[in-house]
Each structure stands twice: as structure tokens, then as C-alpha cells.
């Protein structure tokens, strides 16, 4: 890949004709009305930098940092600009050629020293949840005048009060519970593995009920998505290579992920590891769970739940992977459910990987707007196909609002079937 010290390839930059069709789609432009906070503005900065007309200074970096990476602009672009590659390579250039102020460096270091590693993340999350129950949130903001303490406060605010411990055991093959249609592997990731064990369990339950043997390999690590989206390309490549090496020899028909943010990176390892055949082969088999279930067709017996579901389309599902209708179709397959989309449903919730940890002000503005659009629907539960979005929305919503990954609702509907069957 390009990027590195030189920045995005000029050819890629020049596919942008500066028409501005991306402006209404961009959450940061909508908030700031500042050209430099828009996709075409950011691409123009890359162009001007490549011309040598502007420096790689803290202003430039600030405008690139502030991009959520939600890719709403990609959907809006008539010229087919590959913005994802542009922003990733611009960030990679920044990380390799720009010396950030000490405080920013420390925050990023702390994040990437912990998040990709479940072994380090798990005890911290448990500690954080405990601290939260004890009321630490009221104390934390007073500690935080920027830097690591502020990041800690943001992280704390995002944590659920209880972490789920019901994740499926690793290193096991869960046999299909109805006529067998194939074998899939479940990608467990990093943050998701620690905070969202119940989503993984639900995925296993639903896939089994749909006739798939589900392999949950032990020793998986982070896929590299968080690092890639933040310009930490060498770290991302290292994590990706390790994951591919770990899973390369497993015999599965597809690798399933329940996280939209991970999925979009898992599917494009060829960008992270160009020319590595095993990486491309692995990426070719990755499926988002909504995509996979919808492609295969639901056969299991889903029983009524009778709830109002607000569905939030995660940017990395809808924009980065083009998975728009599948989650809605799956949710609507649950009898008795009303599935609703909030107003401005295409706008990012502000989660965006580690964005809500490093750009808290923008994240808060978007999170608050998203939560109130969802609240207007008066749902019983908000559903989203990305763990980060669920944490972000919950943070700004009424504590009484339940949140769940769509596959958890499918699992709940299946369980209702078993219960009524036994009754």
C-alpha cells in the first residue's frame, strides 16, 4: 500500500472532482459547516499537501483526525472516490511523519496498548464496571482536564454497568442443532469478546439453529480494525497477519463476524497485507452475520416477541459494506416485531472506533442527537450491528432503554419458540 510517509497516491486523490455532493452526508461538516471538516475538504488538504502548498501541521492533522470514518460520503459520491483508502493512508502518513503533542501520544499509546488485547482489556473492563457501580463516574470528570484522564472518563462513561460473562467457550465446535447446512467459524475479536459475550453466544445459538456447525477457535486476537482506522497501519498489519496465521488452516465455509467495524477491515486485508495470498483468501471468506444469514435464508422457527425495535444502521455496515436491507429483513422475520428507523438514520452516532475516546466533543454532539432521534420512536429496544454503536447510543440514552445486536433478538425469538414448545 501507499500511505506511509508519502501519503495517499495522487491518482486516488484526483478521482475527487470537488463537486461537494458529500457535504450533506458528512456529520462533521453538518456540525461545523467548515469546508476543511468535509470529505472533499479533507481530500483537498491531501491534494494541497501533495502539491507542497501546505504543511503537515497540527491544523492539518486536526482536520484529518476529526473524520469519523463513517463512509457516508462514499455512498453519496457520484465519482466513486475511494475515501476509505484515502483517509487510512493520510492517517498512516500522519502517524509516521508527524510528532503529536505528548498528551495525544500518550492517549493513543494507552489505547493501543490495551484495546487489541483481551487479556489486558478484560481485567480493566471488570474494574471499570465495578468502579462505575461504585459511582466513579461522578468523580472522573473532576480528574479530567484533557489527556489520559479525559480518555479514561470517556471510556468509563461508555462501559455498561454489567459486563456479560456468557461468552461461548473457545476452542470448541458447536454442532448444528437442525439439519446441517455447513460449517462456519466465529470471529471473536477483542473489545467485543470482553464486553459483548452475549452477542457471541446469540450468534452461536442462531447459527446452530439454522443448521451450521460453529467453530469458535481459541487464541484469536484483534483484527486490526481500530488500529487501521486510526492510522496505526504497522500495528494493524501485524495483528492481521497474526490472525490469518492462526486461522489459516481451519476448515470452514465462512468466517462470521458480529461487529461491523471489524467486518469492513476483515474483508479488506488485501489493503493491509498487499500481495499476501493467504490474507486475500481469508478476507474472501469473511461474512457479516446479517449478510450470511440473509444469503443463506432463515429456516428456523422464530416465535413472536411483540416489541418495538429501533434499528440503527451502523456506518461500517451500511456505508463501508453496503449491508443495508439484510438486518432489517432479519429483524422483520421475527413475528410480532415493529422495526423502525430513526430520523437521519444515515448519520453516524459518533462511536466510530476510538473516535469517542479521542474526539469527545463531536462524539457527544452526534451521540446526543442520535439518542434523541431514537427516543422519539419510543422503542423497547435499540438494535445495531456494531458493538461500539450500542455502547455509544446507550451512553446518551435513557438508562431504561435496552440495546441489543440484531442476532441477540433472533436468539431471543428462538428461545421463545423453545419455551412455548415445552409449555
Amino acid at each position: 500500500m501507499s500511505g506511509g510517509a508519502t501519503g495517499p497516491e495522487r491518482k486516488l486523490i484526483d478521482t475527487c472532482v470537488h463537486c461537494g455532493f458529500c457535504l450533506p452526508a458528512c456529520p462533521t461538516y453538518q456540525l461545523s459547516a467548515n469546508e476543511a471538516e468535509s470529505p472533499r475538504g479533507r481530500i483537498d488538504l491531501m491534494r494541497r499537501h501533495s502539491d507542497g502548498a501546505i504543511q503537515l501541521d497540527s491544523d492539518f492533522v486536526g482536520h484529518i483526525d476529526s473524520c469519523l470514518g463513517c463512509m457516508a460520503c462514499v455512498k453519496a459520491c457520484p465519482s466513486g472516490v475511494d475515501y476509505e483508502t484515502l483517509i487510512v493512508e493520510a492517517r498512516s502518513m500522519i502517524q509516521s511523519s508527524f510528532r503529536r503533542p505528548g498528551r495525544q501520544r500518550l492517549v493513543r499509546k494507552a489505547i493501543f496498548a490495551v484495546m487489541p488485547y483481551p487479556v489486558r482489556m478484560r481485567p480493566l473492563v471488570r474494574l471499570g464496571s465495578l468502579a462505575k457501580r461504585l459511582g466513579a463516574e461522578r468523580v472522573a470528570p473532576r480528574l479530567s482536564n484533557g489527556g489520559v484522564a479525559a480518555t479514561f472518563a470517556s471510556a468509563l462513561a461508555l462501559l455498561p454497568r454489567m459486563t456479560s460473562s456468557s461468552a461461548p467457550a473457545r476452542g470448541r465446535l458447536y454442532a448444528a442443532s437442525s439439519p446441517r447446512r455447513g460449517t462456519v467459524g466465529l470471529l471473536t475479536g477483542c473489545v467485543s469478546a470482553v464486553v459483548f459475550g452475549s452477542t457471541e453466544q446469540a450468534a452461536v445459538d442462531v447459527l446452530r439453529a439454522e443448521g451450521f456447525d460453529v467453530l469458535v477457535p481459541a487464541g484469536q486476537g484483534c483484527c486490526g480494525a481500530l488500529a487501521e482506522h486510526s492510522g496505526e497501519s504497522p500495528l494493524a498489519a501485524r495483528l492481521a497477519r497474526k490472525l490469518v496465521a492462526r486461522l489459516d488452516r481451519e476448515q470452514v465455509d465462512a468466517w462470521i463476524t458480529t461487529s461491523a467495524g471489524c467486518g469492513s477491515t476483515l474483508k479488506s486485508y488485501d489493503r493491509l497485507l498487499p500481495g499476501e495470498a493467504s490474507a486475500a483468501k481469508f478476507s474472501g471468506r469473511v461474512r457479516d452475520i446479517h449478510e450470511f444469514l440473509h444469503q443463506q435464508g432463515l429456516r428456523a422457527d422464530y416465535k413472536p416477541l411483540g416489541i418495538r425495535i429501533a434499528y440503527h444502521p451502523a456506518c461500517h455496515l451500511a456505508n463501508a459494506q453496503g449491508i443495508v436491507d439484510e438486518p432489517l429483513a432479519l429483524l422483520r422475520a421475527i413475528p410480532g416485531c415493529e422495526v423502525l428507523l430513526p430520523g437521519q438514520s444515515g448519520t453516524c452516532c459518533g462511536s466510530a472506533g476510538i473516535y469517542n475516546l479521542i474526539e469527545p466533543a463531536t462524539a457527544e454532539a452526534l451521540g446526543t442527537a442520535k439518542a434523541s432521534a431514537i427516543a422519539e420512536l419510543r422503542p423497547d429496544v435499540v438494535a445495531a450491528g456494531n458493538p461500539g454503536c450500542l455502547l455509544q447510543i446507550a451512553r446518551y440514552s435513557d438508562p431504561g432503554l435496552a440495546s441489543a445486536h440484531p442476532v441477540e433478538l433472533l436468539a431471543r425469538s428462538l428461545a421463545a419458540a423453545t419455551a412455548s414448545g415445552e409449555a
Binding site: C19, G41, D44, A53, I54, D59, P78
Partner: protein, 492 residues
């Protein structure tokens, strides 16, 4: 006024403007952000401003312009920056006063059918917000999802449906403006007839040379009872052009008649997948709207006109979704041309409708001679051409050839009785071509009007009017000025 140096006055402006814009934002030291205001939708022209004022209210625009007037600092107003003639490119040593943060719809009066809006609101948003009342705002530039009402006022923007409904000027009842001397005026009024000289009309389409609009009273229309849309394919541009003439000659005024040639069809299809036929040499999109019975009758007449002119296929939009898809393809055309070539120049000439078919032939000849490809999309109903001259900017020869072909096309339009611009404005791009259309008497008359508004010449200077430094005031294609060649002046 004490005569301070230019840079001294700019320093004073920077110092004082910050306090005048408490709600909005002033971009002053951020070189990256300033640089991103160097161009509008036409990236060939660029000039980095000294300051960008992101105003939050009419009062802030007012204060900023007043300070410009006091210090004699040139300024340009800016909406969404989607203009296609370089009209919002900052003047040298100038400031940008942007209304992009002023997106409020202040009032909707569904009975009198008036919407009062701030200048930064996007064109399409007005229609979306008034839809619950069965109303909409008719002018629909292809960039309507982005372009601002303020920008529409400055450019007197058109769009596909202006054939039947008219341009922006037909839909703006009144405007509140800040004039270049810093005074605030309301031009026009809520009633359709205002006594006295019509200054509102002078301002509409003045491309920022008479001041900045801060509030707009828009006329809304009832949504038509029925709309029907078809795409008719033809095996030659000539027969498509003949069909346009046949439709108009039959006394029908469709809501829109758009034409695309094979290359444009290919680009739009790649971008949007609107279902256009890739094997057609040309296609017409024809839309009729109005009361249902009238629409049904006119629609049949349109179809038979297409058939009599040899259409090879007629695709009828079955529902709103299909109609939207057809229009989405057409409206993405300019940017979609980015898929055919790394760069292109959009032209905006107008020709008599009867000359449509012949000018397409002439354009093709010009393109062939230069070894370039030209895609054509245009508002055929009113003879407004948008040839897209495709080229590779990495090749200096091709870039130069493309500029040459583009200006030859415009000159051709004037030669056969048309005009240099149909809706994109003159801006920076076509200032030199003004002399091809107007003699010095005409231009002087326009200048006198302009000076009546702007004695200091600080409102978007260098636009619309040819200047000796850039153009030598001679009609014809761009020729390098001797000062440019000697390196003493540069062309922006």
C-alpha cells in the same frame, strides 16, 4: 480614511472581525482550513483567502461586510461552494464570508405559499420541509441536495425543471441583502408586483458582485397532481434533437426535457445504475406534470412525437421510485464524468433549440480534431448545453487542448445565436468570454449598475467582467497576456 498599507488593513481586519462574530467562527491562522476555501466546485481556479468568516446570523454577515467596507477589503460570499464557474473563488488578499452555517428555515406559510429561509439552507431541504403541506420549491439544479439558496440567488440558478417553471428569479419574492457599503436592504416584497425599479431582479444572478444575501422569501408551488416520466432512446443525436423540436412545436411545455449522449449515458450508468440503455446513441428524459387528465393526454403526445422521430425504445417510469432513479442518474452526470476521465471541463453554452442536432455534430468534430472525448448532457428543452470535455490533467498538451475545445464550443454557441452561459454563471471562468457576447457599451452599462451598488469595487472583484489584465478585452479564446508571459502577472 487614513491610507494604511494593504497588509496593515488586513491585520486590522483580522484583529477586529473576531469580536464582530461572537456566535460564528473566524478562520484566520489555520492555513489548512483557509486553503480548503481556495476553490468552489471548479477546482481549476484557486486563491487562498486571508480570512474565512463562518457567520451564524445575518447580523454577523452584516458586521463583517461593514468592516470590509470600512477597511476597503475585498470579499466574496459563499454558500456550499458548488458553483461551476469559479464565482466563489476568493479575490486576491480577500476574505470569504460563508453562510454555510446559516441553515434555518425561519417560516413556512402554507396559505400564502411562502418560505422564509436563511441563505445557507440547501435547495432540496426547502422542498423536503414543505412537502408535508403539499408544497415544493421548483428550481432544481443538479446539485440541489447540496447547493444553497443563497448561492442560487447569487447565480440565478436553473435546473432541469426550469423549462416549465422558470429560473430562481421566478421563485424569489424578496431578499434581504447586505450591500458592499455595509448597509442592509430588503429588495422586492411579498406581493408579486412591486412599484418602482426592480432592484431585486438586478441582484438575482449578480454573482456576488452587488453584495451578500442574508434572508430569502421563496415562492412555493403546489406539488403537481400527476407526474409522468419516460426515457426515449435514439440511434442518433439528430433524431433525439428532432424529437425535442417536435415536442415543443406541438405546443407542449413538458416539466423537463433532458438529453444525454452515449458517453454521458455510460458515465451516469456507471455511477448510479439508473437503467439507461448503454447501446443508445442518445436518450431523452421527458417529464410532464400537472392535473392528471392533462398529464395523461400530453404524455401520449410526447410518446408519439418520440415515435415519429424514430425512437428505438421507450422506458416508462412505473412509480416514484423508478422516476427518482432516472433523475438520480441524470443529476449525478457531472461528477460521474469523473469515472470516464481524471478531469473534465463542463461548459454551459446555450443555443437555439433548432440548432441542437447540428451543434452536437460540430462539437464532435472539434473533439475529434483535438483527439479528445466530449460527453454531452443538457437541458434540451431550453437549448442549454453541458458538454463535458474529458482530459488527462497529467498531460500538459491534453489540458491545453481541453481548454481550447471548451472555449471553441462556447464561441460556437455565440456564433450561432446563443449565449456563453445558461445557468452556471460567468464567474471567473467565462469573464473573458463576456466580450464575445457584449460590446463595450453593454459592458459599460453593466459596470455603471455595479458601481452604483459598490463604489469601492470590493464585492467579488474580478468576476463576471473581463479585465484587461486577464483577458486583454478581446473576444476569443484565452491568450496569455504579455505580462503573464514575462512572469509579472499570473492567471488565477
Amino acid at each position: 480614511m487614513p491610507i494604511a498599507s494593504r497588509s496593515g488593513r488586513m491585520e486590522e481586519f483580522k484583529r477586529r472581525v473576531v469580536e464582530l462574530v461572537p456566535q460564528g467562527e473566524c478562520i484566520i491562522g489555520d492555513a489548512a482550513a483557509l486553503s480548503s476555501y481556495g476553490s468552489d466546485g471548479l477546482i481549476r481556479f484557486r486563491q487562498t483567502p486571508e480570512v474565512v468568516v463562518l457567520a451564524k446570523s445575518a447580523g454577523e454577515i452584516h458586521s463583517a461586510v461593514k468592516l470590509c467596507a470600512e477597511l476597503g477589503i475585498p470579499f466574496v460570499g459563499r454558500g456550499s461552494g458548488t458553483g461551476l464557474s469559479g464565482g466563489a473563488v476568493p479575490p486576491p488578499d480577500g476574505v470569504v464570508i460563508a453562510a454555510s452555517a446559516m441553515k434555518g428555515i425561519l417560516e413556512i406559510d402554507p396559505v400564502d405559499r411562502i418560505a422564509v429561509v436563511e441563505p445557507g439552507v440547501a435547495n432540496l431541504v426547502v422542498s423536503e420541509r414543505t412537502a408535508p403541506f403539499g408544497l415544493y420549491y421548483a428550481p432544481d439544479p443538479s446539485s440541489q441536495s447540496v447547493c444553497s439558496i443563497g448561492g442560487n440567488v447569487a447565480e440565478n440558478s436553473g435546473g432541469a425543471h426550469c423549462l416549465k417553471y422558470g429560473f430562481t428569479t421566478n421563485h424569489v419574492l424578496a431578499i434581504e441583502v447586505v450591500l458592499p457599503d455595509g448597509s442592509v436592504e430588503v429588495l422586492g416584497g411579498e406581493s408579486p408586483f412591486e412599484p418602482g425599479l426592480d432592484l431585486r431582479s438586478s441582484f438575482l444572478g449578480s454573482e456576488g458582485t452587488l453584495g451578500i444575501v442574508t434572508k430569502v422569501w421563496l415562492r412555493l408551488l403546489s406539488r403537481p397532481e400527476a407526474v409522468r416520466t419516460l426515457v426515449a432512446d435514439f440511434d442518433s443525436a439528430e433524431s433525439a434533437g428532432a424529437a425535442v423540436s417536435a415536442i415543443i412545436a406541438a405546443g407542449i411545455v413538458p416539466a423537463a426535457i433532458e438529453m444525454m449522449d452515449a458517453l454521458a449515458i455510460e458515465a451516469c450508468e456507471k455511477a448510479v445504475g439508473a437503467g439507461y440503455s448503454l447501446d443508445a446513441a442518445a436518450a431523452l428524459i421527458v417529464e410532464v406534470d400537472g392535473p392528471r387528465e392533462e398529464v395523461d393526454a400530453l404524455y401520449e403526445e410526447v410518446k408519439s412525437a418520440c415515435v415519429s422521430c424514430g425512437t428505438t425504445k421507450i422506458r416508462e417510469a412505473a412509480d416514484q421510485a423508478e422516476r427518482s432513479r432516472i433523475w438520480l442518474g441524470r443529476k449525478a452526470a457531472f461528477a460521474a464524468a469523473g469515472r470516464l476521465a481524471p478531469a473534465y471541463i463542463v461548459q454551459d453554452g446555450v443555443v437555439p433549440r433548432t440548432a441542437l442536432a447540428s451543434i452536437l455534430g460540430r462539437i464532435a468534430e472539434l473533439a475529434d480534431d483535438a483527439g479528445l472525448r466530449v460527453a454531452n448532457v443538457f437541458h434540451a428543452g431550453d437549448g442549454n448545453l453541458h458538454p463535458l470535455v474529458l482530459y488527462n490533467p497529467d498531460s500538459p498538451e491534453e489540458s491545453e487542448a481541453a481548454e481550447r475545445v471548451a472555449s471553441e464550443i462556447v464561441e460556437l454557441c455565440v456564433e450561432i445565436g446563443g449565449s456563453i452561459t445558461g445557468e452556471h454563471g460567468v464567474g471567473l471562468e467565462k469573464a473573458c468570454s463576456m466580450a464575445a457576447m457584449f460590446d463595450s457599451g453593454d459592458l459599460e452599462a453593466m459596470q455603471r449598475l455595479r458601481i452604483a451598488f459598490d463604489a469601492q469595487g470590493i464585492a467579488n472583484p474580478g468576476k463576471v467582467f473581463p479585465t484587461p489584465r486577464l483577458c486583454g478585452d478581446t473576444p476569443g479564446r484565452y491568450r496569455a497576456h504579455p505580462l503573464e508571459l514575462s512572469g509579472e502577472a499570473i492567471r488565477f
